[in-house]
């Protein structure tokens, strides 16, 4: 991680570009504000000199009034403008922060699925998100950048003032500056290392605090008396981190100390020199005051500059993961072919497809060859981990085969445009998710606004959910889950599954996957749903994964997966004839209880 100024500036510039997208006035306003602020500082340093000299000299009332009026007046006017600009910027900052969050989310969905699941990418994304949510990093970064520029301008102006005293003084100050920057550099490195150490600490801490406030774990925590264990983990964590924090703090302050020694020495030397000049009568008391003010201000500006550099550098470090994450290229380019497939007439072919999950050696699919034709009803069975879900994930392009090709009507599926390809499929996954939106939205999703209520109710009636939903005050506009609305509805597991099924059915895709779609349903429901499936998705192609082998009987074809291969294939009757086969064994193990 290079932490040079140039690198940080590049990060800052990237952000400024984003800010520019939202408001073209932002940057110019900020620059104006900087100029005005600096001017006020100078006015407050220079003008008192004239007032004092006048007081010790002619004591001309008119001139005194003029000087005071100018000092106070300029301050007032410029401050006013600065405030207005500040308000404007604050408003824009909110918009920018929000935009960053969106950019991040969009990126996550743009990447290939397996990239998203990768450990290091997860870490990167989390660091990117943490910053934006918790630290308001962008605002702080901009603010520190602004302060840096301002301090630099102030310093230059002050140097000019001090130069009127004696060029050697500038040289002396230059030396001080040089020392300061060395100290600062060391401090910077130390701070960077510190932040790296803190990141995993924060992550762990967040996990523990969310664990207890996330009440989905509530039952387990209580029944299994996990409280002592979790408290113990938190205590260990705190103890471990106290020493880390102590060390970090000590390191930081060490450099702080060197810095202040440096500046204090400089301060006193200037004072001594000033006194000397006054004593030999080459400067007035007014000048004395002015130069002392200039030097004090100078000292403050240096400290300010250093701490703002710090802040800037820190914020850039925080923001860096944001851009790193954005820079991740999707591993695969999207295909470009349009899809023009007749849902009643197509063919999918797996040609010697093998696949291993990232960072795994074991093949989840091993040289798989199979053809799926339109209007088939296919059952996929097999033991856990045999490759069934992987099959679906490859078919829906969540992952790419490690070797081999999957073709749809002869064309490699990855050649098709993704958004078109995906319209072809619909699925109810084993770990389906429903959303805390309205029932209508859960079913019709993005078309919810224009969807017809009748169609939805009709679908729900085939799943026997219409009565229950009709009884709700808001009908299909009731929100699912209670996390946001008190009158949200908590359905039972089976009812939730039906919502997911309704969603899949509503999409009206050509090929439907059902991955354990009725596992949480009772037998009567299961039967009803299988019936209504036959209504809802007649003349569609269905791939059905289930452990309930009873459902296989309705399939045209059964594929038995085992260790990544298809070991048996055929209709139920055909497979049952092979009494030494795996299918027979599995079927028997279930049916034995019903005989």
């Amino acid at each position: 991680m290079k932490q040079t100024l140039k690198y940080n500036l590049r990060i800052a510039i990237k952000f400024i570009k984003i800010i520019n997208q939202i408001s073209k006035l932002y940057l110019p306003f900020v620059l104006l504000s900087i100029v005005l602020s600096s001017t006020i500082s100078f006015v407050n340093i220079i003008f008192p000199k004239y007032i004092i000299d006048e007081l010790l000299g002619d004591q001309n009332a008119g001139r005194l009034v003029l000087f005071v009026a100018l000092t106070v007046g300029i301050g007032f006017l410029f401050n006013l403008i600065i405030q207005i600009i500040g308000y404007y910027c604050e408003v824009q900052n909110e918009k920018v922060s929000a935009k960053l969050d969106i950019i991040l989310g969009e990126k996550s969905l743009e990447l290939d699925f397996d990239q998203v699941e990768q450990g290091e990418n997860l870490e990167l994304k989390e660091r990117a998100m943490f910053v934006i949510r918790n630290q308001n990093a962008l605002v702080r970064m901009m603010s520190s950048l602004r302060n840096i520029v301002q301090n630099i301008i102030t310093i230059c102006g002050l140097l000019t003032i001090i130069a009127t005293l004696n060029i050697l003084v500038i040289a002396f100050i230059g030396l001080v500056l040089f020392l300061s920057s060395k100290i600062f550099k060391k401090q910077n490195q130390s701070s960077f290392a510190a932040n790296q150490e803190l990141i995993p600490i924060n992550r762990i801490f967040n996990y523990y605090s969310t664990l207890t406030t996330d009440f989905t774990a509530g039952k387990d925590i209580r029944i299994y008396n996990m409280r002592p264990m979790i408290l113990k983990k938190i205590d260990e964590f705190i103890a471990k981190n106290l020493s880390v924090f102590k060390k970090l703090s000590y390191d930081q302050q060490k450099y702080q100390a060197f810095g202040s020694i440096n500046l204090n020495i400089e301060n006193i030397c200037i004072y001594i020199y000033m006194c000397y000049r006054v004593l030999i009568q080459s400067i007035s008391i007014g000048d004395f005051t002015m130069y002392i003010n200039a030097v004090n201000n100078f000292g403050r500006s240096i400290s300010g500059l250093i701490s703002q550099f710090f802040e800037f550098s820190n914020m850039c470090q925080y923001l860096e993961p944001f851009f790193e994450y954005l820079d991740i290229q999707p591993k695969s380019k999207d295909g470009t072919r349009e899809m023009d497939i007749d849902p009643q007439n197509f063919e999918i072919q797996f040609e010697h497809v093998s696949f291993a999950y990232p960072n795994t050696e074991a093949l989840a699919l091993d040289d798989l060859c199979v053809t799926i034709r339109s209007n088939e009803r296919i059952s996929i069975v097999g033991m856990n981990g045999a490759g069934k879900s992987t099959f679906i994930k490859l078919l829906t392009r969540l992952y790419r085969p490690t070797s081999g090709v999957i073709r749809l009507n002869g064309v490699d599926i990855n050649d098709y445009r993704y958004d078109e390809y995906i319209k072809f499929f619909s699925a109810v996954f084993q770990d389906y998710k429903n959303y805390a939106f309205t029932i209508k939205e859960n079913i019709a999703l993005k078309t919810a606004q224009t969807a017809s209520d009748e169609t939805i109710y009709e679908l729900l009636s085939r799943l026997s959910l219409d009565d229950k939903i009709n009884q709700l005050d808001n009908g299909i506009n009731t929100t699912l889950y209670k996390i946001f609305e008190e009158d949200g509805i908590e359905f039972s597991g089976g009812e939730m599954q039906k919502i997911a099924i309704a969603r899949a059915a509503y999409k009206n895709a050509a090929l439907v996957f059902l991955d354990e779609p009725t596992s949480a349903l009772d037998p009567v429901m299961e039967c009803e749903i299988m019936q209504s499936f036959n209504d809802i998705i007649h003349n569609k192609t269905v791939i059905y994964i289930s452990h309930r082998l009873s459902s296989c009987r309705f399939s045209d074809r059964i594929l038995l997966f085992h260790e990544g291969k298809i070991v048996e294939e055929g209709t139920h009757t055909e497979l049952m004839q092979n009494e030494s086969g795996l299918y027979y064994k599995m079927f028997h193990s279930q049916s034995q209880y019903y005989i």
Partner: protein, 600 residues
Amino acid sequence: MKHKNYYNSLQNIWYLFKRGWLYQKSLYIFNGILILFESLYPFIFVLFPKFILDELTGERRIDVLTIILTAFFLFMITFDLIMTFLRAKIEPQFTILRFKYVREHSDVCMKLNFEHTEDPDVLNQVHMSSKALSGNNDGIEGIYRKMFSFISSIITFAGFLSLTLYLNPFILAYLLLSSLLIYYINLKIKKFEHDNEEKLAKTDRKTTYVSDLLNDVRYGKEIRLYGIRRWIIDKYSALIKERIMNKNLLQKKHFFVNLLNIVFLLFREGIIYAYLIIRFLSHNITIGDFSVYFNVANQLTGQIQGVLDSIAYIQTQNIYINDYRKFIESLQNSDSEHEEKIPEMPYTIEFRNVSFQYPNSSQMVLKNFSYKFQYGKRVALVGHNGAGKTTIIKLMTGLYSPTEGEILLNGININKLNRQQYFNLFSVLFQDFKLFAFSIYENIALQGQQNIDLDAVWKYINKVGLANKINALPKKAETSLLKALDYDGIELSGGESQRVALARALYKDGNIFIMDEPTAAMDPLAEDQFYQLLNQMKEPGNTYIFVSHRLASTRFCDTILMLQDGSILEEGSHQELIRKKGAYYELFELQAKSYREEHK
């Protein structure tokens, strides 16, 4: 909102003060010394320049000047170094202190009565009280930091005040009044901000929820498959717009106050300049004094602002402290009712006329349900979705309390028993169990590393058929589950996860064993293995309760309870119910039909 004036600021400060002392004594000691130095530090830069100026416009004695300059330097450096050293010591203490409060908060969350955890009101409270702990510069940590810096600024302020009194009481009055006005307005704004936040709490949570949808990998599959990425992003944008609009109002108010401040500044500087010039011209003060008073008067406003800001800050954070305290203290009441000792084994649990409806729901899920779960028996609960099976489990385990009727353990109402001790009697495999980002060992034993009986854990890993999978992992049972804490952690499949949860229940070895849909995600062979396991589970003193749709499992049970609409429809052994040819028989036939035809 109701607890707005629960405790006032002073009470809360005292509360924090006391506990801070308990938690982190060193913090107080170091801060005490720091306060001394911090409060005196500004005076160095007020007094010494005056001495120098007076000497330069007066006697111009070199030896005197040398002494003044040397003293100046020594004071500056000594103070600086000491303050830096102390700050180094203090900084980490603040964060650790906050961590300790988070620990307390987590503890309370874990002790909450379960029924509260599904109540949006309580969820809001949890959200609000968490805010008090969320950052370095706000809430509780913020107040601790402010508390100490406040004391030093008061002392400095007092010093500056007395210096200004020398000058002119009217100037002082102007400074005080203008500052008080600004303070008052800021206070009003902060109150507005907090009230707004409660309203915003819901929008905030929604925004976080939607943002999680975008970023959480687990939703990724569906979002891609249904192509709803844009849709969700649009929802997010809408929520953000709402939040921005709300914030905008706040920002306008701040802007107004800042403008007011600038106007006051204008008058203040003018007045001070004019006054000091007049005093100088009438030979009342020296140039040295002029310089000093000018600085002091200008700094005084800053001082006043600082003090008032601190007070305002404490007032507003006070509201968060109240949120926190209310939440923490809400627990104290519920504990004390549990008096009786847990009876001895064996256990019979009786439901007597139990009716139940969930909070915020008008539907009765259980209606007048009565049954005695005898020890040593295996009972199956079957029935349609929504018939009440899982609800019975939740009531039996004490997670919820009946709306009507009572539940008795060996004749004692379970409400009278210590809740945790009661929980300890149960081994439960929930339908929606949760795995944690700890090691596999810990997920099974749910104990700290030192208390885990490794042999027992492996015994059960073998029993549930996970031995092969786990042995194949590089770290074996030390491997972390999930990826939240350890990016090398693994995600298990549905069936594998269920087996871990089963091992967990077995390890605990409770007297009452409950399984809610234990084989839903398992393949047939694993399921069969499981039933074999069930068959072996026959400890004479234990009770076994199964909830399942898979009527195959009911064959292992002594009694089957068939539920419908919250009451018992049929009851008996498998054989008895088949002979009866009632609802159970129909259900059974429905499942069996598809298997049986093959064996015709």
